[in-house]
Every structure is written in C-alpha cells, then in structure tokens.
Assembly symmetry: C2
Homo-oligomer: 251 residues x 2
DNA sequence: CGGTTTATTGATTCCCGTCAAGCAAGGTGG
DNA sequence: CCACCTTGCTTGACGGGAATCAATAAACCG
C-alpha cells in the first residue's frame, strides 16, 4: 500500500540561510503586517531589523530568557513550546513564513514564556522590542494589526483548552491534524500532505496525550485507509472519511 | 469544625445597578488603561460609552453573536466560558472591576467566541468596536496597552494548556485555586476567602475534570484542615500547607 | 417551610498512561 | 554503497486515575 519510503516533507536544506537585504525587503513588504506602508517607510523599518540563520533543530530562544526582541519568520518553520519536567513539553504553535513571535508587546513581559526551535533550517528577522515600540507608535495601524494577531492566537489557545477539556484522545488528534492541514497542508498526488516534520511526540505534545497513544490512533487510521504516514510525515489520503472523524457532535 | 453555615461571599445585591455618569468617569479614570489621559480627554472618551446593569446569572452576550462591542467591568464579577454539548462548558476567565472583554480588536473577529455571564449583579460599560478603533488610532499608547492586556491573557491561556496537559487532577485544582486567590482573594478572620461565587461545577469547568472529582479533592483538603468550603464558597485556612500542595516539582 | 439547586460519597467501568520489547527508517563513515 | 548506529515508530500487557451512574444530604430561595 505505502510505496513511499522516503519522507515527502521538504525540510529545505541542512544549511544555514542568511537572508540577503533584498530578500528581507521582499519578506517584510509581503507581510499583511507591513503591506500598507510605502517603499520608503518599508526601507526605514527594514533597517531596524537584524537577520539570522538557524539550522534544523536549533534553538532561537529559551523560556526564561530576557524577552528583548520581536521575531519574524522569513523562511522555514518554527515551533514554540513550553518545556516541562522530564521531556513532558507542551507544543504551543507552529509558525510559518510571515508569522511574528517573541515579544510583541514592547514592555509586556520581562522573559519569554516559551521556547522557540527551528523545525527546518530557517531565516529569522528580528527587531528590538524598543524599536518595535517606536514603530508601533509611529504607525498606529500596525499596533491594531498586532492586536489582531494576538487576538487570533488567544482565540486559538482558548479553542485548544476547550478541545483538551472536552474531547477524547482520538478526536483531539483529529482536530489537531485538521488545524495542521489548514496551516501547512499541501495538495500532492498522494493526498493532502502535512508539510512539516511532525513526529508522534510532537502530536502528543499538541494533544495532551502520549506518543504511544498517537501511534495507536494513527495505526488505526492507516489500516482503515484514511491516512498514510511514516517517520515525521503524515498525509491524508481520504479527505471525506477524515472529516467524518472530526465530526464533533457527540463527544 | 465548620461553624459558618452561610456563604461569606459577597454577591453585592440582587438588584440591577445602573451606573451614574460620575461613577462611570471615576471607573474609567481609575483604569490603568486610561490613566495617562487628562480630564477632558477622559470626558470625551466617556461620552462614547454606554452603561448597562445586569442581574446575577444574567447573560451579557452569547458565543456566536456578532462581535460589535468592547466591554469594561465597572462593578461586579463576570465569567467568560465556551459552551459545549450537554452542559460540558469550559470556563475561560473570571473578570473583575476594570477588566476589558468582548471585541478588543476593532475588526478582528466577526462573532464572539465565548459567552459572558454575570456572576454577581454588575454594571458594565461598553463601546462600539468602531469607536474603540477611533480612540486607539488617536491614542497609540492605548493600542499598546491593549496589546499588553492581550499578551497577558495569551500567556495565561498557554499556561493553562500546559497545566491541563501535564498535571493530574488534584494539582490542576490546586493551581486553579491559587490563581483564583491571586485574582479575588480576600483576607478574612477565617483565612483567605475566594471572593466570588464559584461552584464545584465551575471549578470542574476550569480544570478539565468533573464536579464529582472536584468534590472529592476538596473533601480531602477539608478533612486535612487546609481549606473550608461550602455551597459556592471556598476559603484557604492553612496557607502554608496549601502552597505545599501546589509544589509542581514532581508531576 | 417546601422545592430546587448544589455538594457529598460509594460502586463500577474504562480510557489511556506506563513499561517494555522489537522493528523500520535515516544518517554516517569507511 | 553497504554495515552500523541512532532515532523514531509500533504493538502488547497491565494498572491506575478519573469519569460515570446513582442515591443521599445539606444549603439556599422564594
């Protein structure tokens, strides 16, 4: 059945990216965030940013570090998580090109409350919270956009609290896979691929279960022909059947 | 042991409040949010607000309603929750005097994602999202403050995801009681009272458990002399012992 | 003071976490 | 390019923590 042995997930490359100036300008200009600015304003803002490359699995910052910068994903995929005792982490979010993270609030918190790790090799732009604050004051519409970014995440976090609180493990895994598809889903000739290197353990950390439970649930889905998956990759081959599984009418 | 039969929690009164103009001005002026504004600016902003009284248990808005207003608690206590199937709600937050809720983001979401209900009789100020947006544009520092409010809540929501995911039921209940104490704790001659009408079911909805489990855990705490409690009230009588319970070193 | 809501407690069931062993995939170096 | 080693996935057996069902008791309210 599964003729694909190699993982179909693109992890870009194993080398470190270092973003050129014009790549940075293009990235920033494309962001919904900065899209209303004119070229000269954009240029000025661009100058306040640093860029830095990260290898696969490298850490960008750790929970507890002083929260002095705001980051933007220029290329690659980043995961945010809260480290727990004995490898019991909780995965909070997976970020893509254009997503903001770090300290978005100028003076809000003194230390990061999560850890940021690069899932693929990546290029990250960053700006000091102070400079970001100055930009927000100069362009109030940007502050409102930041507010909307935060609201979206708060709603997602609350949705997740709801799901963990009310759904059994299997449904939690299904709805989590669905949000992953919405975020990084890619149509391929073998179904909808979740285009990020997500392990069973990652899924467990997203769904408040264990890798073993995730494995059992996934095995069942595979044997019923709904998904295909392997080492750090998942593809949904029978979309209709999959949505059936997510039907959250009866808990 | 428990000589107190009546609930010590003050639910203000059963009558509807209607905030007078000068009460409103005082409330708004006291908010960290508006504290930097001068009296005339404050007056101008005050005019954009409506005020409305709610009885105990009355609903302010429902999940799914069009999200057209931003609210401020002037007096009373409000709970926000996500309604689930078959009474399986999830309690998201308890709000006090000065707290903002509703649509804080001007244009962010089209409908409320939670339901707001008055725990006590209360007085609520509100403003249209559009007017609020105009104010934010006029006073960029307010937008940054909104951002910080949102960040704080996002961090709290993530912390809760972490707790639900990693802690056993008893510890979840303890840490939840601790956050309630931080929020509405009141020193009395019989220990630290949680000054809000919180039922076993409310606690269950906050901790992803059931009323029965909460009751069992609370009974144990009562028999070991750490807390006293009754119908919709909880008081921590042995603070040191209670903090021991919250020691989150070994899961 | 009766009716309703909330809390307590017990008995039972079961989902899922834990422990453990075996296997497959992927990367590495000769 | 293949043997080796590491890392991640699978599967089974078992036990425990908490949900469910149910019946009683206490507190509150009109």
């Amino acid at each position: 059945m599964n003729t694909r042995r190699k993982s179909p997930v693109n992890i870009i490359s194993t080398e470190v990216h270092h973003c050129s100036m014009d790549l940075r300008l293009k990235i920033l200009g494309r962001l919904p965030f900065f899209i209303d600015l004119n070229p000269s304003e954009l240029m000025m803002i661009n100058q306040r940013f640093n860029s830095l490359g990260f290898k696969k699995d490298e850490f960008i910052y750790y929970s507890g570090d002083p929260a002095e910068r705001m980051f933007v994903v220029a290329e690659g995929k980043i995961k945010l998580f809260q480290p727990g005792f004995e490898r019991r982490n909780v995965l909070l979010n997976i970020l893509l090109e254009g997503d903001l993270f770090g300290n978005l609030t100028v003076f809000g918190s003194s230390t990061y409350t999560d850890t940021a790790q690069s899932l693929t090799s990546s290029c990250i732009l960053s700006i000091s919270s102070q400079s970001f604050g100055e930009i927000l004051k100069e362009f109030p519409s940007l502050a409102i956009k930041s507010l909307q970014v935060m609201e979206k995440r708060l709603i997602a976090a609350n949705k997740r609290v709801f799901e963990i609180s009310t759904l059994p493990a299997e449904k939690r895994i299904v709805v989590t896979l669905l949000t992953l598809v919405e975020k990084v889903g890619k149509q391929t000739n073998q179904g909808v691929l979740i285009d990020a290197p997500i392990s069973r353990e990652d899924l467990a950390e997203m769904t408040a279960t264990t890798p073993e439970t995730v494995s059992r649930v996934m095995s069942q889905f595979q044997s019923s022909g709904v998904i295909e998956s392997g080492r750090k990759w998942i593809s949904i081959v029978d979309w209709d059947a999959f949505q059936q599984l997510a039907n959250v009418e009866s808990p």
